[in-house]
Amino acid sequence: MNNFTLVRKNLTRNKLRLFLNCFAIFIAFLLFGALGAIKNAFDAGVELSADDRLVTVNKINFTQPLPLAYVNKIRTLEGVKDVTWANWFGGYYQEPKNQLMTFAVDPESYFEVYDDVVVDEQELENWKKDRQGILIGERIANARGWKVGDRIPVSSNIFSKHDGSSTWDFNISGIVRPENPQTDTSYTLIHYKYFMETQIWGGDWIGWIPLTTQNPELNEEVSRAVDKMFANSPAETETSTEAQFSKAFVEQMGDIGFIIMSVVMAAFFTILLIVGNSMWQSIKERTSEIAVLKTLGFTAEKVFAMVLAESFLLAALGGILGLGGAWLSIKAITPMTQSILPALVLGHQVFISGLMFIAILGFVTGIVPAWQAMKLNTIEALSRR
């Protein structure tokens, strides 16, 4: 037996109480972990947006096209660094429910603007040379088990080819890998030119224009200049930063972060009261035992440490089980949420703040009983019979 055995035996002496407390903590940390991961997934879009990246879309609606000629016009503006363009393809694999977010992009300029992802140099070369080449995001490659060299059919639910079919065959030329693991890579990239030539509507219109500025401080100025340039034209534009774009999207869905954190905090505060009360009760019941320990020569500090250790152990037990449960549940639902929340993972950021909350819980629920045990008057406690 050692001191830890004593703490453990004290914690497990009342199995029902232990179970109920553990269960309450488990639920709270399950919520914390799962909701925390979901909140992070929503935030990821905003946080990971490059702060010098702007997107120009049609003012009417971002599904309306813009003329390709705008790209070169924007390039002439002061403060603009790189400009590229993209088209929505609306892809799926085999069946419409297997969504495969696909963009038709300009191979030469795309990665100048999207420099937060990388493609192997050789793979990028191969893709540029192969009109039927497709680059796939790492997340998709992992999820579907696709490899470079595979030939895959990608169907569009918007466009069709001259032969009436709406399925294109592509060769996987390379994998798009994120620099930050939370950056979303659940998309695929095909050649704009090849796409425009093979689909029946033809023309040289584009979906939207991503661009970077020389300096994030110029964002405002540049976006105003762009929109002013095309004012009163048949296709007016609206330019905003990528972060604003994502944020507006998140805000539209209600302040999810705030709601989630309120739920988590309410749960946490509730277990703080429940577990704190239970710890206090349990120590009160042990008054004479604590007095005996002190009589045997256990110092007040030692008694204090033992009670605090007990509450930490309880918090850690329920809390780590809860975080583990959250991790498992998130893992279980990711396949279903791939397309809505691609960045859904219980990252170590959530895990570490979970551990921090476990420590807070252990401390807050244990400190008062520990203090009482330390200050306990041995003589009175022993004569109170």
Partner: protein, 234 residues
């Protein structure tokens, strides 16, 4: 029994303040206890027996006066030092055994050894010896609730002696036991006194129990009256 003093109490005063009232339990008590003595203390309820025992054991302090243990004044030691001193020198035995309910006999006995720097093997050896001495080796794995009162008190005795202290303080150790069981417990205490030279101070209400000691003291109105002093009590 040697002639060396274990305790020398000088001019002990003890007052409890309750609100505005101050009650004096001891007012200038002097007493010496020789090493290796088995002292019994009797006296009416409220005469201060437990209070005295607590002061001897370093869990309570006199209001004034000196408690010399082997010549060292213990009443001025700090809390931490006093705790260490208790762990080293004193074994306590209570009327209601006061075992930890979630620990089995063996672990209850091992408890005081957690305060010493001993290896697991050394601890096991001491626990085994102590349990053997009180005749409970076969109950080592039993929880207190699975033991009779007498057996629980034996475990408590084993716990008190496991770290080999010089002094055993017993507050009505047989107060909750029947005659036969009480006699067994008292014989064990006597054995510890005679064979192992432990100094024992035992508070009791039972004259038969007191007769197992070799010095019987009577406490009344804060003063001692020595009743008998013999070394040959059956």
């Amino acid at each position: 029994m040697s002639n060396e003093l274990l305790f020398d109490l000088k001019n002990i005063e003890k007052r409890f303040v309750r609100g505005r009232e101050s009650i004096s339990i001891f007012d200038g008590l002097n007493i010496t206890i020789k090493k290796g003595t088995f002292v019994s203390i009797m006296g009416p309820s409220g005469s201060g027996k437990t209070t005295l025992l607590n002061m001897l054991g370093g869990v309570d302090r006199p209001t004034s006066g000196e408690i010399l243990f082997e010549g060292q004044a213990i009443q001025n030691l700090g809390e931490g030092e006093l705790a260490k001193w208790r762990a080293r020198h004193v074994g306590f035995i209570f009327q209601f055994y006061n075992l930890m309910p979630m620990l089995n006999a063996e672990k209850n006995v091992e408890l005081p050894l957690l305060l010493k720097n001993l290896s697991k093997a050394q601890r096991n050896k001491s626990v085994e010896t102590a349990l053997k001495l009180v005749g409970l080796s076969d109950r080592a794995r039993h929880l207190p609730k699975e033991l009779s009162g007498g057996q629980q008190q034996r475990v408590a005795i084993a716990r008190a002696i496991v770290s080999d202290p010089d002094l055993l303080l017993c507050d009505e150790p047989t107060g909750d036991l029947d005659r036969t069981t009480a006699t067994e417990i008292l014989e064990t205490l006597q054995l510890l006194n005679k064979e192992f030279g432990k100094t024992i101070v035992m508070v009791t209400h039972d004259p038969v129990a007191a007769s197992f000691a070799n010095v019987s003291l009577h406490l009344d109105k804060g003063q001692f009256i020595e009743q008998q002093s013999s070394e040959a009590v059956a």
